[in-house]
Symmetry: C2
Subunit: 317 residues, 2 copies
C-alpha cells in the first residue's frame, strides 16, 4: 500500500563482454546506483602467503582461485570481495552467482581486474564469473551447444599458455531427476569440449563439478551412494574425464589426505563437524603436471557453503 519510493536498481556498467550465447545485449540504461557495499572483511587476520614450488624447484608465477560463492549479492553483503584483496589471485573464478548480468551490484568490479560474467536465463539461478588481472586473449561463453548453454555454466578464457575454463556443473537434484542429463549429456559434451581445447593449448579447468570423485572425497560415502554428487554415474563421469589425459591437481598432490573438503551443507552444523564434500577442483591437462606447485583448500574462508580453492602454477613462457 502506497508511499513506495522509486525502485533503487543497481547495476554494474562497463563490465566486459559478459553475454551468454543465448542473450542479446541490453541497452545500457544508465540507472541510478544505490547500495554500495561497505568494507566488510571475510578474511581479517588470515594469512594467504604460501611458499611452494614444482618438483623441479620452480616457483609459481600464476595463482588461480575458484569459489562457489552461492549468490554474489549475498556474498558481497558478507564482504566477499575482501577475499580478492587478500588472496590476490591472478584469476578468480566464481560459480553460482545467481544473478543476471543487469542485476550485478554496482561495485562488483575490482580494481586491477577484468571481469567476465555469464548468467542463466532463469533469474537467480546458477551463473559463473571470472576476475582476471591479465586481460585474456579471448573469452567465450558456454560449450557452443544450445541445450547446455542457457544457464551460464561455463566461461572459457584464453591466455598465452593455456585455456582457463570455469564450470558450474549441473546438480543431479534431490531424487536425482537430472542425473540422466548430467551424466549422459552434460558430462559427455563437456569432456569433448575440453578435449577440443586441449588439442591446441593445455587446459586448466576449475569450478564446482558437483561430484565427489572417490570415497575419500566426502565424509559419508556409505550413506550417499544415491545422493546427487556421489552416484556411480557421476563418479564414473569424472573418472572418464581424467582418463582422457587430465589430472585432479589436489589428489595428484595429496593422494592420501582425508577430510579435505570444499563444501559443507549449511544444515546440521556440517562445517563445524567437517562433514563435507570435495566438489571443487582444478583439472589440468596432463602436460601441465610438471608446472604444478600446489593446490590449497581455503577451508577457513567463510561466506558460502563452499570454500575457495587455490592453484599455484609455474608456467613456462
Amino acid at each position: 500500500i502506497a508511499e513506495s519510493p522509486k525502485k533503487g536498481k543497481r547495476k554494474a556498467e562497463d563490465t566486459e563482454d559478459g553475454e551468454t550465447p543465448a542473450k542479446k545485449s541490453k541497452s545500457a540504461k544508465a540507472e541510478e546506483k544505490t547500495k554500495l557495499h561497505k568494507a566488510v572483511s571475510l578474511t581479517k587476520g588470515m594469512d594467504f602467503s604460501h611458499d611452494c614450488q614444482t618438483k623441479d624447484g620452480r616457483k609459481p608465477n600464476w595463482k588461480i582461485a575458484s569459489w562457489n560463492i552461492n549468490g554474489i549479492r549475498a556474498w558481497m553483503d558478507k564482504g566477499g570481495l575482501s577475499y580478492i584483496a587478500d588472496e590476490k589471485p591472478d584469476i578468480l573464478c566464481v560459480q553460482e552467482t545467481k544473478c543476471a548480468q543487469e542485476e550485478l551490484p554496482a561495485d562488483v568490479k575490482v580494481d586491477g581486474y577484468h571481469d567476465y560474467w555469464s548468467s542463466a536465463e532463469q533469474a537467480g539461478y546458477a551463473g559463473t564469473g571470472i576476475y582476471s588481472k591479465t586481460k585474456p586473449i579471448n573469452v567465450t561463453y558456454g560449450l557452443g551447444i544450445k541445450k547446455h548453454d542457457s544457464e551460464g555454466r561455463v566461461i572459457t578464457a584464453e591466455y598465452d599458455q593455456f585455456f582457463l575454463v570455469t564450470a558450474y556443473v549441473p546438480n543431479s537434484g534431490h531424487g536425482l531427476p537430472q542425473l540422466p542429463y548430467r551424466s549422459k549429456e552434460w558430462d559427455v559434451d563437456f569432456r569433448e569440449y575440453l578435449n577440443n581445447l586441449n588439442k591446441s593449448k593445455p587446459v586448466i579447468m576449475c569450478g564446482d563439478l558437483n561430484v565427489a570423485h572417490l570415497e575419500i572425497d566426502l565424509a559419508n560415502p556409505k550413506t550417499n551412494k544415491k545422493t546427487a554428487g556421489f552416484t556411480a554415474e557421476e563418479r564414473q563421469g569424472f573418472t572418464d574425464l581424467l582418463a582422457e589425459g587430465y589430472i585432479d591437481s589436489y589428489r595428484e598432490l595429496y593422494p592420501e589426505t582425508e577430510g579435505a573438503y570444499s563444501f559443507w551443507t549449511y544444515m546440521g552444523n556440517a562445517r563445524a563437524k567437517n562433514v563435507g564434500w570435495r566438489l571443487d577442483y582444478f583439472v589440468l591437462s596432463e602436460r601441465l603436471k610438471e608446472d604444478l606447485c600446489d593446490n590449497v583448500i581455503r577451508k577457513d574462508v567463510m561466506g558460502s557453503d563452499h570454500c575457495p580453492i587455490v592453484l599455484y602454477m609455474a608456467l613456462k613462457e
Copy 2:
C-alpha cells in the same frame, strides 16, 4: 546436496476451536516441537498504564487491543508476545498472521488467555487470531458466505454484553485489481453481517480495515486517491458502514487530531517521518458510545508495519 537432517516442524497443540469454515480438522499428529522463542521484548521501558473514563465518569472495565502483526512467526521472533504481557489487554485481536493453524509456533499460547485462530487456504497469507482472558460464549469464523470465507479474515467472539468481531479486510492491491470485489462484494456483505449481529447485541469490530477514511487519516491524501486504501469506493464503504449506526471510536474522541496513524510502509523510512495511514479501527455500535473511555494508538510499539491500537470501555452489566 545431502547431509539433510530431519525437518524440525513446530506446532501449537490444543489451540481452541480455530477451524476456518473451509477447513477440516487435521488429526493432531504429536509432532516434535523445536524452536521455542526466547524472551525478547519489544516493549521494554514502555508505560502502558492509562487513566481514562466515560463522559459520565465511569472507569474502564474492558481493554481491547488490535494489531496487524504482519506474520505471526516473524512477530514472535521479534518478541511480539511481550506486548501481551505488558499491555495486559482483556482481548487482543491480531491480523495478518500469515500462518496456517498447523504451522503456528509451539509457544504461541499465552498464560491466562484463550486463543482462537483462522487461517487462509493459501499458505502464508492473511489470517486472524484472538487472545481472550474471558472465554467467549461462542466463537465463529468468517461471514458464513463461502466466497469470503477461505482466507481467515474474520473471527467473531460472543461475550455477555457484546459481539467482538475482528477483521482483516481485503486489500485492493497494486493497480486496484481487487477493488471491485472489495467494495462491491466484501464491504457490502460485511456490513450486512455486522448489522445482523447488531440486532441482538452491540458490536465491537476491530482490525485492519484497509482504508483510511478521511484526508486526515493519512499523511499524503492528495497523491493517494488511486492507491488501495484511499480510493473513493473504499472510503465510501466506510462512510456507509458508519451510517448504519456505528462510530469510529478514535475519530469520535479526536475529531481534529492529525498525524494519528497505525500503519507506515517499511519503504523509505516512512515511520520515522510519520508518513502513515490510519488503517486500524475500533468500530462500535452507536449505543456503546456512552461506554467509550478512550482509544489509544500505540505508535511506539514496533514489530510490524502496523502498530497496536487499544480500546478502553466501561461496559455495564
